[in-house]
Every structure is written in C-alpha cells, then in structure tokens.
Symmetry: C2
Subunit: 248 residues, 2 copies
DNA sequence: CGCACTCTTGACCGAGATCAACATTCGTGG
DNA sequence: CCACGAATGTTGATCTCGGTCAAGAGTGCG
C-alpha cells in the first residue's frame, strides 16, 4: 500500500533527473500521505485559501484557473498524473488561483509541515521540489508565448504536442495514443478560444491527418507535421530522458 | 561598496516577508557579487545557455522572451530592479528563454555554486529564493489569464497596474508616477498587441484621464478606475506590505 | 420518451491586425 | 547650420481571424 501511494511522487522526482539515495528513498516512503477520490469539476483548492497540505495527482486531470470579475473562468494550466498542482502553497501563504478536477481524480496529499521537514533533512529533495515548481513555470512561460503569438490552429496543435509528451513522461501513452477525456468546451477554456472555433480547428487537424481525437482519446497521426505546425520544441519541458516524442 | 552591492538582493528577500537573522545577513553580505553595466537591447542570457551564474537587476528593465520559428520575438515577462530574472537557471540546466535588457541596465551576478552553498547553510534563505521563483510564476499565471480573456484595453490597463505596484515595491515610485522607459513598440511585444493598436488603446487610457504616459514616464491619474477597468487584484503579487497602490 | 450534454454547421459581426502615409523628434555628419 | 535618416508616435483604410448567436444532429441516461 505504502509503496503504491508514494509511487507518483517518486516518479516525479526521478523524472527531474535525480537518483535517490537509500535514505532519501526512505524519507519519501515515510512521508505520511493520505489518499482520496474527487469527482470531476470539483475544487481541490480555492483562490484565497491558506492550505496546509499539498496535493499530488495520482490519476485524472486537474486545472489551475482564475475567475475574472465577470465570473468567466479562465484556465492557466492543466495537470497530469504525477504533478503537484499546488506546490506553490508551500511558500505562498495565500492561494491566488483555483485548482479543480477536470475529470474524476485520485489524489494524495501531504502536510506542508511534513514536506518542510523533508526539505530540511534532505536538501537534494528540496531542490528537486523547487525544480518542479520551476518546470511548471517554464510550461506557463511557453503558454504565454502560445497565447500571445500563435494562431488558433498552432495553439491547439501545441497543446496536443505538450499533452502527449507530458502524458508520455507519466507513462500514460500507448504507442502514439493516450486518454485525454476533455470536451471541446474544456479545450476552449484551456486554449482561450470559443468552443465553436475549437470545433472547427479540430476538424482541420483531423482532416489534415495530424491527429485523431474522439471519445476522450487522443492519437497522434503525424508527429512531425503536427510539431512543425505548432512550432513545438520540447526543451521547455526539461525532460531528462528522451522519448518517442522527443523533438529531434 | 559591499553594502551597496548586496542592497537589491536583500531588499528582495525582505520583501518576501522574511526577517533576516544576523548570520543570514552576514551570509548575504559575504556573497561574492560582481557588478556590470549592459546597454539596452542586449542579451543577458540566451535560450540554450547553461549559465553558471544568476543575475539580479540593480537598475533598468529587462525582459524574458522566446523567439518563434518565424523569428518573431514574444515577451513572457518583464523584470524590474530587485528581480532575479534567471533564478530558474539554478536548477534547470538549460535556459528555455532569452533574457535581455530593455533599457540600459546595471546588473550584479552571483555564481550558482555560491548560491547553492548559501542555500545549504541557510535553509530559510533557500526557501526565500524558492518563494521568489513562485512569486514570478504567479505573475506569469496572471498574465496567462490576461492574454486569454481580457480585451486590449483591460490588458494594457492591467499591465500599468502591475508595473506601478511592482515598481512601488522596489521603491521606484514617487507619488503616483514612475519612470517606465518603454516605447509603444516595446509595449506591443509585451502585451501581445500590434504597435498601432497599442497607440490607439493608450489614447483611450489617456483621454479617459486614467494615466499619463509620455517620455518614458508613467503617471496614474485615477487608480481606482484603472484598476476596475483592468479587473486588477494585486493578491497574485504576494506583497507582504501594503502600499499606496494596495487593491483595497 | 424526453431531457441534457456534446458536437456540428451556417450566418453575421467585431476587435484587433496589417498596410501605408505622414508628423515629430533627435542624433550625426557634411 | 542645415540636411539627412532613423526612431517613434499618429491617423486612416481595409482585411481577417475568431467570437457570437442560433439551429440542428447525435448520443446517452433517468
């Protein structure tokens, strides 16, 4: 049980390029982690909260969003299994965004206090966690570029590129296909486009033979052309190991 | 001399809400820092670099940007005095963006090795630096929201709101006015709008009596209305102390 | 069966991009 | 001192990408 529960966190740390020492491994195993299940479209953390725990996603998809005065919800990030979407809460007293499930999710959570102790005793693990926050920031940086300077088509293509690489790194891609149970309306919130335009843009990607996307299943049919269209360069993801979807 | 050189870093750390102990203060004072001067529009760090130093801005403005395949440069962030724009390089081996001066800049830099030693010996300082990266990430998160869901007018207004608060926190605002030596073209790269449209949008902000912006000088004439227009809520900036420009 | 959700398509509209011309300032060299 | 060109700011005309509105079609579920 314990092993399974720590699995995701370990994987995440390992992905960051760190080889854990026995004592570090032990410290992670000893972390008191509690696990729970949250249905789709429910808040995990809300803007203004002062959480005393961090959440790791075991399965499912979650998002970071903010609401504008008008009440419109805009997404700023999407989180895949292995991510720790509210790691910032460890150092920023007050949440400045909402984190909510997008699909049904299994999550596990750790108390800030336990993480702080872990960091104090194992500086390399502290650096690994710090690095995770930096890597998340790099993803947002790329997304700023995406929103500010790419067309709807390139943006959507870029999103799919990013998702397949991140899900692959989480071990959730079989061949060139993965589960991505998002509706077109979910996509529209994520990409910053209207649902209607997402629909039309999807049709272009499909009819060009770049992807298949039905029933919550994404399949990359032409990785090279999709990447070229999206102007995708995976270096911002800072993956240590290459994959089928490495960008060259 | 030494004192002056550390000033900015100390201020930044203090702003993050931490009261330094004597030994922490000493450790910061002992940091070997080198100072230099860089003219406007020159790269400080380039995409792909593997720097072994971190840079802190003493005076001037710098930006984080990426270039798209077409060669167009898009900005993802702007940095004011006291910021450490490439702090991510401490943990991410390879830069995934360019950092360049926007105006003439005085900068100081510290070797990664020295920062790592500092972090190892003074965990609270490590946390303070980590927090800075998280606070920078929060600014980007807000910017994603901005790009994806606000009109040109609100975006520009939001940018000015953010700048006045950040510059105020750096002690660079007199009354409701500060130096902001950016051309309309600089603004267009930052805000993700065409230069022509920046011009027209600026005229609206001016003729509405919200701001004055000439000769690189920004003056807020109606903070409340500007903030309302921008849907600005400064909580994402995670300032510990309030200011004239607190959002209520 | 009927309702709710998602996807699809068509028609129209508008915010902002693009292109082009002109004004103003300023530094530089003849 | 003036001439010239390079930045920068301003304005107008036109275009286009993507938004909005509305209707219908398919699907699953109570």
């Amino acid at each position: 049980m314990g092993n399974i529960s720590q699995l995701k966190l370990s994987i995440k740390l390992l992905n960051s390029g760190l080889i854990l020492s026995p004592s570090e491994n032990q410290a992670i195993d000893d972390l008191p982690v509690s696990r729970s299940f949250v249905v789709a479209h429910h808040d995990l953390v809300q803007n203004g909260d002062r959480p005393n725990r961090c959440i790791s996603i075991v399965s499912g998809l979650a998002t970071t969003s903010k609401s504008t005065r008008a009440g419109k919800r805009q997404f700023a990030a999407i989180h895949v299994p292995g991510d720790i979407p509210d790691l910032m809460s460890l150092h920023l007293e007050k949440m400045d965004c909402d984190i909510r499930t997008s699909t049904d999710c299994e999550i596990e959570s750790v108390e800030h206090e336990d993480l702080r102790i872990l960091c104090a005793r194992h500086p390399r693990l502290a650096f690994a966690l710090w690095k995770i926050t930096l890597s998340d920031a790099a993803i947002m940086r790329e997304w700023v570029i995406n929103l500010a300077s790419r067309s709807a088509l390139a943006r959507l293509a870029h999103f799919f590129c990013e998702m397949i690489v991140r899900l692959d790194s989480a071990g959730l891609v079989q061949g060139s296909s993965c589960k991505l149970p998002l509706t077109q309306e979910d996509l529209s919130d994520l990409i910053g486009l209207s649902a209607v335009h997402i629909n039309r843009t999807l049709q272009i990607l499909r009819s060009s033979g770049f992807i298949a996307f039905n029933d919550g299943q994404l399949t990359i049919l032409n990785w090279k052309k999709l990447g070229y269209l999206a102007d995708f360069d995976d270096s911002y993801l800072h993956m240590s190991r290459g994959s089928h979807f490495a960008s060259s």
